[in-house]
Symmetry: C2
Subunit: 285 residues, 2 copies
């Protein structure tokens, strides 16, 4: 959705916009590590009650990523927001318009925005980004982004899942909107959680129903890439890099399987540094 | 979260609460059909642009389900809400407090709540419910709900995924909160989308790290059920019924695989009629 991306940029602080600027310091795949167990950087995977304070720390650093459809409601990246928690951006009640306070409600353990007039609690939850990895004649269909962030970089067609649709429906819709391609879903391929930004990527394997595709309003070009020619240095997001790497690994040893993993971005790196992450808790099904 | 469920009930119309009351008209598994292709009731899976009007129809019927953690923000079920779309419940801007209008923004295709003062669009997206199917000595751990809705019925431990955590972290947390059990995730098992209510269930296979469990504040009892003794007539939600059925089918023929499916509730049935659904677009990985 072009409008959403434009709004997203409009609401960014100068600081954040600067961090989203494209630059060329990609480092190949040297920073990637894939483990089947949680790393020391993911203590959330313990089950003791002591992890909850860390939950709150993590929640406080939630911000928008360089996502195709990042919304203005999740794009604030001001220092105040990052230090005070995700709920701080909720100043008023959507229901009655009353001002909110930011406290841990009785019986809960996380800070929420609570309406001081009607008492309603504004819950926020992670969003699903759904998309397709389209196989065609030993090639993969990618779209070159014509919108910020990641303008000019390559991505799988993907975007936010909407209320009232399923993940497959959303993936098919986004593929039509971004690549003008009619696809048939083959199988679920990967779920990638990115806790830092409150997003979960769900990507399906798909095939073209007709051999036609053309760039939609958000894409300047759509192209089939042979598996040896995937432009790893010009991909838009870590999630796309991980998805394509897992796919290539599967193809080399047989057929694709379903994968689950957590993408933990390296602290201090910008969203545009797509190689600066670890893939933790990776499981194949 | 008990508070969330209490609030959910508090905000329900009398009509909706009546529909959530427990009754005994379960019909075994006779209403379940499993297909590998979308049924005629899921035209969203076409890729033509003509499906979009149906998207909007579907979105307009979104309401809260009989979900363990249903929030007050998604629980409105008044006739006005159901006829006017999900965004109608957003009356004010969370950012500036300005009143909203409900229109299709330029460049988009869905009605959104747009602030008449600052122009911010309030996006709403489906929520993820994450949980664990815990295997232990050829038995499955279930929790008897001590909260409404579905009070007194059995469920897998599950709840809304929170900002700042991964799906596995959320599933482990919910299992600890509801069943007092420390678990280790084995593999992803199922993703079940329920478009009508804007929810996606993501359930992992897990095992007990210690043989201890005890009911949390939301459960009156936790019990291991042998696979032949699963209380299908006393389960809480369609998502739990589907998950357990798929698991039993997998166990009979080998080991569990990953499943994806869309649960479409039969029109006119209440959330408590957990057998009144079709499982569409079912895929194994």
């Amino acid at each position: 959705m072009m409008l959403r991306s434009i709004q997203f940029l409009g609401s960014c602080s100068g600081f954040f916009f600067h961090r989203l600027k494209l630059h060329g310091n990609h480092h190949g795949l040297s920073l990637i590590s894939i483990s089947s167990k949680p790393s020391s950087r993911t203590p959330l995977l313990t089950t003791s009650r002591t992890h909850r304070c860390f939950h709150q720390f993590r929640a406080s650093s939630v911000r928008s990523e360089s996502n195709p459809d990042a919304t203005s409601s999740s794009s604030s990246s001001s220092p105040a927001f990052r230090s005070a928690g995700a709920t701080r951006k909720i100043n008023f009640c959507q229901s009655c318009g009353g001002p909110t306070k930011h406290e841990i409600p009785d019986g809960e353990e996380r800070e929420r925005a609570i309406c001081t007039l009607c008492g309603k609690i504004a819950y926020e939850n992670p969003k699903m980004v759904v998309g397709c990895l389209i196989e065609h004649d030993n090639s993969i269909l990618l779209c070159k982004r014509k919108i910020h962030p990641s303008y000019g970089l390559w991505t799988l067609p993907a975007g936010y899942m909407e209320i009232g649709e399923s993940a497959t429906e959303g993936a098919i819709r986004e593929t039509w909107e971004e690549a003008g391609a009619k696809v048939k879903i083959i199988s679920p391929f990967v779920q990638l959680d990115i806790p830092l930004i409150g997003q979960t990527y769900i990507i399906f394997l798909a095939k073209l129903m007709t051999p036609h595709f053309s760039p939609g309003p958000e894409s300047s070009e759509c192209r089939l890439f042979a598996l040896d020619d995937i432009p790893y240095e010009s991909l838009s997001f870590s999630s796309m890099l991980v998805t394509l790497k897992l796919y290539i690994e599967d193809i080399k040893v047989g057929k694709p399987r379903f994968h689950y993993g957590i993408i933990n971005k390296r602290p201090g790196t910008s969203p545009s540094e797509i190689h600066a992450y670890t893939l933790d808790y990776h499981m194949r099904s």
